[in-house]
């Protein structure tokens, strides 16, 4: 207890000082705007809505079931259902959101909306550079700002996206196979009914069901 402890400590700081010039572990600074720490695959910040195809509004997977709205712990999601239905990826007619707002000034990035979504429609984004001086205009994200293509989903969460795509494709295949079988079984009987239904429908069916080109995950 005569100063050795202090000298030991100073040796340690000197080691770090000198080490900072040659040892990467002793100079851990990542100069942010230029260099960025690569986002982790599971990283999450704010939710976004996945859409398939080119047209974001038409390709939204969201069916406005409002489960996420209900389950969102801080209640930052707001959805109004559109009365017009549109076909989903398997061709089934589903509701779509007329309004889908997320207030990221409230969002706590907990991912529960993603967990409860049965349609794989809402996912977590990794973008964090959302700061700005406009609280109400800049941080209330509407459906257009939330919609991002599936390819983007693939770039930020490749493994998860591939898994989701696989699941959706399998489901679609199953539904299609079933539909085909049904169609074959009831080909004749259904023909008339199908024609009538098609005639009755106001909006022409849009081909929004094909998932965007599957990007093979990096690993």
């Amino acid at each position: 207890m005569l100063g050795e402890g202090i000298i030991k400590g100073m040796a340690e700081t000197a080691r770090n000082f000198l080490g900072s010039y040659h040892d990467a572990a002793r100079l851990t600074t990542v100069e942010f705007p230029e260099d960025k720490i690569p986002a982790k695959e599971s990283a999450r910040n704010f939710p976004f809505l996945v859409h398939d195809g080119e047209d974001a509004m038409q390709g939204l997977r969201c069916v406005a079931c409002q489960i996420c709205e209900k389950e969102c712990p801080p209640k930052c999601i707001f959805i109004i259902k559109d009365t017009n239905k549109k076909p989903d990826y398997v061709g089934k007619l589903q509701f779509q959101p007329k309004v889908f707002d997320i207030d990221v000034s409230v969002c706590m990035s907990c991912q529960i909306c993603v967990e409860v979504c049965p349609f794989d429609a809402i996912k977590m984004d990794t973008d964090f550079e959302l700061g700005g001086s406009d609280r109400f205009g800049g941080l209330l994200l509407n459906k257009r700002r939330l919609a991002k293509p599936n390819s983007y989903y693939h770039t930020i969460h490749p493994t998860e996206a591939a898994e989701v795509d696989g699941r959706l494709a399998a489901e679609k295949a199953k539904v299609e196979a079933k539909a085909k079988a049904d169609a074959e079984a009831k080909a004749k009987a259904a023909a008339a009914a199908a024609a009538a239904k098609a005639a009755a429908q106001t909006t022409p069916p849009v081909v929004a069901s094909t998932p965007a080109a599957v990007v093979t995950p990096a690993k």
Partner: protein
């Protein structure tokens, strides 16, 4: 006339760079006789203020970068190339910042405190020898002058803390005074050893006494003698405390007293405190260099061709770096420990060091072979023993030890 003037300036600069005596003599004769004394004084004063003000700017940056490196990061590097303009930006901002004086404060004293701190601190630079022929003021009692102006800064810190009428400031001011008075004694007594050896209070002569080399390569600096080393250590510790640097930064202890005596200072008054603190650190480091580290002398025989002031400033910056290094390592003392360290450890040790120095002096008559080594060992034993005893007494009084822990499974 103008040509003469330019010529004179050129010659002056050349004489400074080449360590020639009477640099001012190169310029003064060109001027009218009336102006000569004043210009002579200005020529001494202006460079000092200029050099140390820029050194201050540089040091704040180096400190931030150095601490950064110690802490595994880069430190300021965006403002200008390598962040070199960071101090300029800080200064500019401070200048344009609003100046708040608390309503209940003693406004006159509040205003005077930073000025009263900065002025004596700057004055202390007058007596330091910066180079072989660069002494602004060679006073017979130069060292005493240094201590006297140093002592008069204490009141200004008290003024700052008291006038703010803030509780933290008052506590900080009281701590500041207690600390500075306590460490002033070890500081002076440890310097006295050097005075004993050189027989002068003039810093210039003290440096001259440290010229030459033992055995042709070991510089004849006092820090390399047992008493000089002990004195240097005591001096360094005391000067850390005198300049309120970590681990003696109690007056502005951030985690306890917000900013201590500076809590209520904003704008450039705050910057002035900051400046004065750094200038004080330079001054006292400069004195340490002068007393113990051979002043402007080169460390090795072959290096005398380098201008002497380069050595002086090199050593000064090394001292400052040591201060920064310590700051990056150690926690802060508590006020009672601080006082104990001063009165129960440093002061006795400094007094004993006087005896060691005397023994060193009186044994200089020994001429047998290896006498130097024997004297050295004798001196080391004389100061080492009390060091161990006093040190153990200091930490042992409270039974401070490293502990062994037991475990339950």
């Amino acid at each position: 006339m103008i040509a003469d003037l330019l010529n004179g300036i050129g010659l002056l600069l050349w004489r400074v760079v080449s360590d020639q005596p009477d640099a001012k003599g190169a310029l003064l004769p060109v001027l009218p006789a009336v102006l000569q004394p004043v210009v002579s004084a200005v020529l001494s004063v202006a460079p000092i203020i200029g050099v140390f003000a820029s050194l201050f700017a540089l040091t704040t940056l180096l400190e931030r970068k150095g601490l950064g490196r110690i802490q595994n990061r880069l430190g300021p590097n965006r403002v200008g190339p390598f962040g070199i303009l960071q101090p300029a930006a800080d200064g500019l901002k401070m200048l344009t910042k609003e100046d708040i004086i608390p309503r209940s404060a003693d406004k006159v004293v509040h205003f005077l405190a930073p000025v009263c701190l900065a002025v004596p601190t700057l004055l202390a630079f007058a007596v330091l020898p910066y180079g072989r022929n660069l002494v602004p003021l060679d006073l017979d009692a130069g060292l005493l002058f240094f201590f006297a102006v140093g002592a008069s800064t204490e009141l200004s810190i008290f003024m700052a803390g008291w006038s703010s009428r803030n509780k933290y400031s008052l506590l900080g001011a009281m701590r500041a005074i207690a600390q500075m008075i306590s460490y002033e004694i070890p500081l002076i007594v440890s310097s006295v050893t050097v005075v004993m050896m050189t027989g002068t209070l003039s810093p210039m002569h003290i440096v001259e006494h440290q010229a030459g080399f033992i055995w042709g390569f070991i510089p004849h600096w006092y820090v390399l003698t047992p008493w000089g080393f002990a004195g240097f250590v005591i001096f360094t510790i005391a000067s850390l405390a005198e300049s309120n640097r970590s681990p003696f930064d109690l007056p502005e202890a951030e985690s306890e007293l917000i900013a201590g005596h500076l809590t209520e200072y904003s704008g450039f008054k705050y910057a002035l405190f900051f400046l004065a603190e750094y200038l004080g650190m330079f001054a006292i480091s400069g004195l340490g260099v002068t007393l113990f580290l051979g002043g402007w002398h080169a460390p090795l025989p072959g290096l005398e061709w380098i201008p002497s002031f380069v050595w002086f400033f090199g050593k000064l910056v090394s001292m400052v770096f040591l201060f920064i290094w310590i700051r990056g390592t150690v926690p802060r003392l508590r006020v009672d420990q601080l006082l104990n360290l001063a009165w129960k450890f440093l002061l006795p040790l400094a007094l004993i060091n006087l005896v060691v120095a005397a023994v060193w002096h009186f044994t200089a008559v020994w001429t047998f072979p290896g006498a130097l080594v024997v004297r050295w060992l004798l001196g080391a034993a004389l100061i080492g023993g009390p060091y161990v005893l006093l040190g153990s007494a200091l930490s042992g009084a409270k039974k401070n030890t490293l502990r062994v822990y037991r475990y339950a499974t």
